[in-house]
């Protein structure tokens, strides 16, 4: 499996294509996928998950597919209670969160497929979801322009849930549909950037709980990416340009424009501040070197708009989805439901631990201190064996002496005889 990969999907059925980021080689095509914007995600780098656009407007549900990295056919097909738009998972891949068209947010435990929680988050459909850097907060954007921050722990707190209003913040500065949300680093002091159809990007401060800046754009931004060093962020717009906006300057924050797409940029992803990947409405993916602002590579996904471009790093062994249960439809409120967690403990990797030299050191110390029964025992045993030896030796000498004596006596007698 390649190191880092680009995966891309479309709103019409083109499957999910994958390429090696460094080589540009086309890898697998994961079959059957028509994913909505933000509907494609990699679950803990273990497998790909994608929500689907419902077959018709009246369809009451649309599936969510899981693909393992090495198989083109999907491994698991789940039917949530309603069509799911955006999907996101935490980095360990334990939870999968989806935003429904009714404005509900669903939270599944991946290992068991259980729907752990579902709550009514927005009045209109959820358009994007993002997790904060420590993955304890969930930020959701909605069709009505509302951006809300949820404390996931509070979502599960039965006592607090009863009192209602379980979100941490609710920001209503956007006038129209929120198109993308990205979250910076910095734990409680992170910033959240959102883009909207009202042709602005807004920067919110998590710690202050309010909007810090509003950045007007020439066009509607459908995609956002943030530089890992948080110098700037990128806004991919419908006019085909990717604006590079400084996060530090207030007036004239535009510090560059990546312009190569002739049609709307629909999705972008950024890696380590040097490479940007963008997908556009004509199905072309461009890889940019941000430093030189050049296109380094052009990849062709399909003759259809791109809905999602992601940079992913699959785990080496991948996951066998054979035992992966599908996501359940409803919250099972029975007692046993929350009581048992399926937990992936890390793979054992035993480090050789040699005992002898340590033990020898300890025993030597004890031996030299000469105060334990074992030492005494050993000493006794030694003395006994030595004693035995000495006795034997004495016997031998005694015998020798006797022999010698008898010899001399004999000799003497022999001499005296003649």
């Amino acid at each position: 499996m390649e190191g880092e990969m680009i995966i891309a999907s479309s709103p019409v059925d083109t499957g999910v294509n994958s390429w090696g980021l460094n080589s540009g080689t086309k890898l697998l095509n994961y079959k059957v996928c028509s994913s909505p914007r933000h509907g494609l995600t990699s679950v803990g780098s273990r497998f790909i998950a994608s929500s689907q656009i419902p077959a018709s407007r009246s369809a009451s549900t649309a599936p969510i597919y899981f693909w393992s990295w090495d198989k083109p056919q999907f491994g698991v097909k789940s039917f949530p209670a309603e069509p799911i738009g955006p999907l996101t998972a935490n980095s360990e891949g334990t939870y999968l969160m989806g935003g429904g068209s009714s404005g509900s947010i669903y939270l599944w435990e991946v290992a068991s497929g259980k729907l752990l929680n579902k709550w009514h988050a927005h009045y209109r459909s959820v358009t994007c979801l993002a997790l904060s850097d420590d993955e304890s907060l969930l930020i959701s954007g909605s069709d009505d322009g509302c951006v809300r921050v949820w404390n996931l722990i509070m979502i599960f707190d039965a006592l607090k849930a009863q009192s209602g209003l379980s979100y941490l913040y609710s920001w209503t500065e956007h006038a129209l549909r929120v198109t993308d949300i990205v979250v910076g680093r910095g734990l409680s002091n992170s910033i959240i950037i959102s883009s909207s159809e009202d042709r602005t990007c807004k920067i919110f401060s998590l710690s202050e709980g309010k909007i810090m800046r509003s950045i007007p754009l020439d066009s509607v931004a459908d995609a956002l990416a943030i530089d890992p060093g948080e110098h700037r962020f990128y806004a991919g717009c419908r006019d085909g340009k990717i604006y590079i906006k400084s996060l530090n300057a207030e007036n004239n924050p535009t510090i560059g424009i990546l312009f190569d797409h002739s049609v709307a940029v629909t999705s972008i992803a950024c890696r380590d501040g040097t490479t940007l990947v963008s997908g556009s409405e004509d199905g072309i993916i461009r890889i940019w070197d941000i430093m030189t602002q050049h296109v380094v590579r052009v990849l062709k996904h399909a003759k259809a708009p791109i809905s999602n471009v992601l940079l992913v790093k699959p785990t080496r062994q991948g996951t066998n989805l054979a035992h992966q249960p599908p996501l359940s439809k409803y919250v099972d409120s029975s007692e046993g439901d929350l009581g048992r967690n399926i937990v992936i403990l890390p793979q054992p990797c035993w480090k050789p631990n040699f005992l002898s030299s340590g033990l020898m050191g300890r025993q030597l110390k004890e031996f030299q201190e000469n105060n334990s029964s074992a030492v005494a025992e050993m000493e006794v045993e030694r003395l006994r064996i030595e004693n035995k030896k000495l006795v034997e030796m004495a016997e031998k000498w005694k015998k020798l002496c006797q022999d010698q004596q008898s010899f001399y006596v004999k000799e003497l007698l022999d001499h005296t005889k003649p």
Binding site: I191, N248, V298, V343, W350
Partner: protein, 808 residues
């Protein structure tokens, strides 16, 4: 008898030294002649061990690329020296005299760990047989037993990395299980060494254990349940029991052992807590552990269950307490150790069990007094209760560690009992452990958890850390924020309903105490530091100032104590090392408090800097090292700046951002809104502000220079390549050969053309765009900064340079 007459040419580095030392050591091991007595004084043996390890005498490895002319000879010498050494050792191992046998076995163990792989594979069978004989001999000494088991354990550890001998070594390991089991059935002497061997076998040769899994399990369990080994041995046995499921390696056997452990704990508690807790707690947990319709696994029977008439004191202290300790220890190991497959952790029963123990505070709950619950029994239990709580807190800690992010759905139900318990806890070691638990929760759940825990951590830490106000800390805690129920209220509620007195007593303990033990302070400081770094700026208005004040005071005080400036002498139980640790932790927490952003400039920044400066002088201590790092970390806070990336390709645009920063209108941080709030607080701040400006101005000039040079190069490069590789889509950096052919086909010729065209257009478009931008932004600034005019000049050269290269 010296085999060489030549001198060492390289002195101490001469490799020929090694075989020679080894030969002389082998001679030292020889017990014939005069040397005989030296082997028995221990010092000689220690000397041999040290020499072998120091010089690496057994490795037989010549350095990479060793090209002495005598390489083959040296190898041969070394090999024969090791041969002689091992021969000597084997003679010793089978010697009747325990001392010699012991010395030989120990050194053979060291040899097994260090010898070459070829040697090991060639002769492990012989070694194994020799060692096995020693184990099976009945009259052996403890030293010999221990050394033999350790030696065997090392042998199998090492053999496990050779797949070609896996089969044979597995069959060898099978022969060891029986002697180990026999040993455990016996009186339990020498058991610890055997348990180590058992653990090695479970880890590396699970198939050997698999066949007698049940026997091993019952042997280990009965040892634990009998509870009459010493604590150290019990821990080892519990560890082995926790490892045991690895022998099968499936999810089921893990769950069964876990279930058995928890049921055993629960049954034990039923017995102990009778009358001291509400009824029905035990069965409730049982119901969770064994869901309806499932059968409980056969339990381990408690072998020598203490007689009913055993004195209750002895029963609690000698049998129940160690049993609870080893059972919880086993659970902890199982929760935190890795396991090859997914397992189902019964979180709800675990948390209920933990809650059950933490809820018992030694007070009687029911009016009907049980016959077993005499006042004497209550007294005894209360004396053991803190130990029980410590064990169970360990279990909670292991649960948090094991579950990681998966604790999320249960997080709220963990926080509630723990914080409730914290309010009641007075025992120092318990408080320290609760702080650690909270710290772990903060680490694992991050910002979301800090919203829950902040008030609790701060209010409790202010009790433990604030020495000056200890007498009023109780009322302070009562006021601290709108806690759900203040301890004062709790106290009143309790004491009115029961005339027990325990609660009142605990309060007076807090109030009357002179100072908190250092280790509690250290734990509190760590928790504070974590809280500040995780969630120091999120909804922290209510507690932030108090926390900052607390930390600066404590850091000042502890640094003074550490450097000996304070008049305070060491209190009882405060060693100099723990003073240093306390100082270190206090400074770490202070750094978190200074760095953690609040919406104002850190109020104690100047004092903090001064402290770190002072601490830095204590050269050679951890404190000094840390202070230096802290000063570096704080430097960014003193000189806030926005340095654009050096090799950014567009000079004007980058210059704009610098100019904007230099301009007073612009805020150096992320956004301008909070600009007004930054007020110089002290003299230090007032001084540093203008300085930083100057520095930045200089820096920006330097950066500017560099950037311009870089851009000239970049522009040259890109223009050249575009010209040369006009048929390729690829811009300069990516080599053409990396481009897959199908992509080229896919994009087609048109696209290629447009792409390169676009890039050029883009460049031009950008230039004009930024010209515009530059002129706009230069409007009012031209006179302010030299770098402005320079950078505006620098715009044309990019193009000019490009043209130059073209003409070249």
């Amino acid at each position: 008898m010296a085999p060489f007459s030549d001198y060492l040419t390289d002195g101490v580095n001469d490799l020929r030294l090694k075989p020679r030392i080894l030969r002389s050591l082998t001679r030292d091991l020889d017990d014939t002649g005069d040397r005989r007595s030296r082997l028995f004084d221990g010092e000689e043996l220690a000397n041999i061990l040290e020499k072998v390890q120091l010089h690496g005498l057994l490795s037989e490895v010549l350095p990479e690329g060793y090209a002495g002319k005598d390489e083959a000879k040296l190898r041969e010498e070394w090999r024969s020296a090791v041969d002689a050494w091992i021969e000597r050792l084997l003679l010793l191992v089978s010697d009747k005299m325990p001392q010699k046998c012991w010395a030989g076995t120990c050194l053979l163990g060291v040899t097994i760990g260090e010898c070459t792989s070829e040697r090991l594979v060639a002769s492990y069978a012989v070694w194994f047989e020799k060692l096995l004989q020693n184990i099976q001999a009945s009259s052996n000494n403890r030293f010999v037993y221990e050394a033999s088991y350790a030696c065997l354990s090392d042998l199998f550890t090492r053999l496990s990395s050779f797949p070609n001998v896996k089969k044979e070594s597995t069959s060898f390991s099978g022969r060891l299980v029986q002697p180990v089991l026999q040993l455990m059935d016996g009186d339990g002497s020498f058991m610890e060494a055997a348990i180590d061997l058992l653990c090695t076998l479970i880890k590396f040769y699970p198939s050997a254990i698999y066949r007698c899994y049940d026997k091993v399990e019952s042997a280990l369990a009965s040892k634990i349940m009998s509870g009459n080994s010493n604590m150290e041995a019990l821990k080892k046995i519990s560890g082995a029991l926790a490892l045991l499921p690895h022998a099968k390696g499936d999810s089921g056997s893990w769950s069964v052992i876990m279930q058995k452990l928890m049921i055993s704990i629960n049954l034990l508690l039923n017995d102990v807590f009778e009358g001291l807790e509400e009824e029905g707690k035990g069965p409730e947990i049982m119901k969770l552990l064994v869901p309806a319709g499932m059968e409980a696994p056969p339990l381990w029977d408690q072998k020598n269950k203490p007689e009913e008439n055993t004195h209750a004191t002895r029963r609690l202290r000698e049998s129940i307490s160690p049993l609870l300790c080893s059972l919880t220890y086993s659970c902890c190991i199982m929760l935190t150790n890795p396991y090859p497959v997914q397992v189902i952790i019964p979180v709800r029963p675990l948390l209920t069990l933990i809650g059950r123990v933490l809820n018992v505070d030694g007070t009687l709950v029911s009016k009907t007094v049980f016959p077993s619950t005499t006042s004497l029994y209550q007294e005894l239990l209360c004396s053991e209760l803190p130990t029980f709580h410590l064990y169970i807190l360990d279990l909670l800690i292991a649960t948090i560690k094991g579950l990681k992010s998966q604790l999320l759905p249960h997080a709220a139900s963990v926080v509630q009992p723990v914080t409730d318990y914290f309010r009641r806890a007075t025992h120092p070691s318990i408080r320290a452990k609760v702080y650690y638990t909270l710290e772990l929760l903060l680490h694992s759940m991050g910002v979301g958890m800090s919203l829950y825990l902040a008030e609790h951590v701060v209010s409790n830490a202010s009790i433990d850390l604030d020495e000056g106000r200890e007498s009023i800390c109780i009322s302070k805690l009562g006021n601290a924020g709108s806690l759900k129920s203040s301890p004062k209220k709790r106290k009143r509620g309790r004491s009115s309903s029961q005339s027990n007195g325990v609660e009142e007593e605990t309060n007076s303990v807090i109030a009357g105490k002179k100072s908190t033990p250092l280790f509690v302070k250290i734990a509190a400081l760590r928790a504070m530091g974590t809280l500040l770094s995780v969630g120091g700026s999120l909804k922290s208005e209510s507690w932030r100032l108090e926390a900052d004040r607390l930390l600066i005071n404590l850091a000042t005080k502890s640094l003074n104590t550490f450097t000996g400036k304070a008049e305070k002498y060491l209190c009882i139980g405060e060693s100099a090392t723990s003073q240093e640790e306390c100082c270190l932790v206090a400074l770490q927490a202070l750094l978190s408090s200074l760095l953690s952003p609040s919406h104002v400039r850190p109020p104690y920044l100047s004092q903090g800097l001064e402290l770190f400066q002072k601490g830095k002088l204590e050269i050679g201590t951890e404190v000094a090292t840390f202070c230096e790092k802290a000063l570096l970390a704080l430097e960014v806070l003193i000189h806030p700046r926005d340095i654009p990336l050096v090799n950014y390709p567009i000079p004007i645009a980058a210059a704009v951002s610098i100019n904007e920063f230099d301009d007073d209108e612009m805020h150096p941080g992320w956004w301008g809104a909070s600009d007004d709030e930054i007020q110089p607080l002290g003299d230090v701040n007032g001084d540093t502000q203008p300085q930083s400006m100057e520095v930045d101005a200089q820096k920006s000039q330097g950066v500017e220079q560099e950037r311009r040079e870089y851009n000239r190069e970049a522009a040259t490069l890109s223009f050249e390549t575009e010209k040369i590789e006009s048929s390729s889509v690829l811009p300069p950096q990516a080599p053409v050969d990396l481009l897959p052919s199908q992509d080229l086909q896919n994009t087609g010729r048109d696209t290629k053309y447009t792409v390169s065209q676009d890039t050029v257009d883009d460049r031009q478009g950008k230039k004009s765009y930024y010209d515009l931008l530059g002129n706009n932004s230069l409007g009012g600034k031209e006179l302010m900064n030299d770098s402005d005019s320079e950078s505006s000049d620098s715009a044309p050269p990019v193009v000019a340079d490009g043209l130059d290269t073209e003409s070249d």
